[in-house]
Symmetry: C2
Subunit: 102 residues, 2 copies
């Protein structure tokens, strides 16, 4: 079942764009473990926040991605940019009006 993660990551003042650069660094490993979509963005209204929406082939694929050496290194490297504020939600996809229903 497709799994979705929508999240916010607080950045230290002035470090948001570094965090964006970090999160958008090209990765082939993510797709290999089942990442279907990974969009990173910003909002003028929240200048110290980075936003992500992700789709994965399953919740297990998402969990497995966190164990990848590449992802672990990325998390460690991003840590000095983070304020410690996180938000968002996770859910199981059950349908789409674009695909013709649930």
């Amino acid at each position: 079942m497709t799994f979705a993660n929508a999240g916010t990551l607080g950045a230290l003042p002035g470090r948001r764009d570094e965090l964006v650069a970090h999160l958008t660094r090209p990765s082939t490993a993510l797709a290999e473990v089942g990442c279907l979509l990974y969009e990173v963005g910003v909002s003028e209204e929240h200048p110290d926040t980075v936003f992500v929406v992700e789709l994965w082939t399953s919740a297990e694929a998402h969990r497995a991605s966190l164990e990848l050496p590449e992802v672990q290194e990325s998390i460690a490297a991003a840590r000095p940019l983070l304020s410690g504020e996180f938000g968002g939600f996770r859910f199981d996809v059950v349908g789409s009006p674009l695909r013709g229903g649930a």
Copy 2:
């Protein structure tokens, strides 16, 4: 610029799946006005909440979709199912590690 909306909609107790059925009803109008992705889902941890992640060709496309007669009718029909609790966030997409960066 691609625009993302990630949201939560509170449903009245026991009405969540009706709300899901509503939000996943097939629509060709959404794609016509610029909807790129519209995933609807649920979570065992939050039994009275429906989750959505949406991607649009622009923030304007998203705004325009709310004016479509089809969407207005859908909003009116869904209203009796809603608890009135809403959450989530919106942002401008700046890149993806799957596409090779920002």
